[in-house]
Symmetry: C2
Subunit: 348 residues, 2 copies
């Protein structure tokens, strides 16, 4: 057991029943994978809310958006021979893939980082346009100056890509479209320029050759990206053998950029580990944890919509202490603390 996370005793902090579904006829099945930021002396979460109709016997039903942003419900008999239920998250029907739930983002704030509530005046953020008809997921928030940059997974029949939006006030959003084409997700922006360029971690995926690895890219303007370099691969036989992806924005330390990342194995068990990247050239990996620094061990991490998952894409840093907010079992929002120094000692 190499888990060095100090979980909040209040976990889970948020459950699906804690929020109201926004859409008539839909229920919230999952609250998960929050982006995290500080704003107006509070800690805020951009929580992913995954909804679908209450499931009826013998039928699979799920929502999608049309390009005008209206919800449409698709219903398929489970006996239909053209239906393949891949896992609780994904299905295939008549040569097309779909998600079982439709996700949007909800803003919640907190005075103590433990108790979160909705505030009037900050509306939900919904998928929009042709590249988000299956929803938006797993938002990372990076603050650069006064601006907050949201990178998130945009899903549609076109594929799974990375969208970018900007805001100063969390009311008005400037959407910058797809910054990484399919198949890509888990994009975390660095919160400052390094030399003349901005940097991002991202996670392309391949149908053949290559794998689900972490890459770094650079940009003059956060909108156009190039010089893609692979910085971390999956490791055969280990806890991160099948896919890995960045967590929240990299944390600047004296030793380098510390990135907490997730890894999954053949059993789709998601744990957390860490990478250390060179301060001047984040394409250079200085260290990586061999064992996970956090594993799904609590009941709420092992049993839920998709069990055996701890997944983080947001945190708050206070000196040596990093508080991660994380999705547990793809259903609950939880929190845990790490000592940065302790993580650094685990690097090899």
């Amino acid at each position: 057991m190499t888990d060095i996370a100090k979980r909040f005793t209040e976990n889970p902090l948020l459950r699906p029943a804690d929020l109201q579904s926004r859409h008539l006829g839909l229920t919230i099945d999952c609250l998960l994978n929050p982006g995290v930021f500080r704003f107006q002396q509070k800690v805020w979460l951009v929580v992913r809310v995954a909804e679908r109709p209450a499931q009826q016997e013998g039928v699979v039903s799920f929502p999608v958006l049309d390009q005008a942003g209206q919800i449409k419900i698709i219903e398929i008999e489970k006996a239909n021979p053209n239906l393949i239920l891949s896992d609780s998250r994904l299905l295939r029907f008549e040569n097309a893939d779909y998600l079982t739930t439709l996700s949007h983002f909800r803003l919640l704030c907190s005075d103590d980082g433990v108790h979160f509530y909705e505030t009037e005046g900050y509306p939900p953020i919904e998928g929009s346009g042709a590249y988000e008809t299956y929803g938006i997921e797993d938002c990372r928030v990076t603050q650069i100056g006064k601006e907050y940059y949201l990178t998130y997974t945009a899903v549609s029949q076109n594929g799974v890509g990375v969208g970018l939006m900007m805001t100063e006030d969390w009311i008005h959003f400037d959407r910058k479209h797809l910054i990484f084409p399919p198949h890509n997700k888990d994009c975390a922006l660095f919160n400052e320029k390094i030399g003349p360029k901005y940097y991002a971690l991202h996670r392309p995926g391949s149908p053949v050759i290559g794998g689900n690895y972490i890459w770094v890219a650079e940009s003059p303007d956060l909108i156009h990206w190039g010089n893609h370099q692979c910085i971390a691969m999956t490791r055969h036989g280990k806890w991160d053998s099948v896919r890995i992806g960045a967590g929240g924005a990299p944390i600047r330390t004296k030793q380098g950029w510390l990135e907490i990342y997730h890894g999954a194995d053949e059993q789709d068990r998601y744990c957390l580990g860490a990478l250390l990247l060179d301060l001047e050239n984040p394409g250079i990996v200085l260290g990586r944890t061999d064992d996970p620094i956090m594993e799904p061990v609590m009941q709420y991490e092992q049993q839920g919509f998709f069990g055996n998952v701890v997944f983080t894409n947001g945190h708050i840093v206070d000196g040596d202490q990093v508080t991660i907010y994380y999705g547990a079992s793809d259903e609950f929002v939880c929190a845990a603390r790490f000592s940065i120094d302790e993580i650094l000692k685990r690097l090899i």
Copy 2:
């Protein structure tokens, strides 16, 4: 039969036996998929040369590059239970994918566009660095001003991405690294700015959700890319049902940007079709051919290293006439002419 290509009677123009292998112990198995450009009053091809060792009974052997650019031969007994021979192009061994051949580029020129020969002083272009250890493939050449831009498929254990290099003299090359991360190929640059931006067609691929579709992206500098939009999908039940990808640089016509593209079906049969894109906004598709404009019908297109393939990534335009150079059966270089007007009439 909807094939409107006027094939050269001299086809195939080039066969593997026409060139000398550059690498001791390797033989050229395929000459294919040339990029095409005009330079010094001649027509030039950037031919893809695919090499491997002569194959011995019971053993698969193939070359890869190390990061210093040195060739290493990997040999695997065919009886090895960890070996999966996917098709003549690809194999899987111990959790990793490999290519059966290693490709580089060779420059050939011609005074008449039919007879091509090597000229001293223009060395081959080889894979270089960590992202090209499995070789470089299928170069598109776009001339913008005095500069020639080469976009090509860069293959390594990191995945299949798109590399960019620039040259003015075809002797010195400025390598700009990966402009599109995996999985991506079939990248064709537009040969002029549209408004303030450069544009490219590219072909991302997805392990799940989405498919092998043609996308357009924009860039301020040809190096950093954003605003990715899907402009053409595969069409179920048609000749382009499984994968499609751009050919050479889009051709400016009065009606729009004409793009000759390839499509493959479930039987891996590759044909050519065409797309017409809006002159001012190439994200808008004005037309697409329903049937192929060229199909593998000649013996050299049906029988070879990988049969039933016509694949183009380069052409020369003279008024209404476009001469495409194309790979036939992944083994031979051939040419054919189209009337642009005739292609435009096939659009629906």
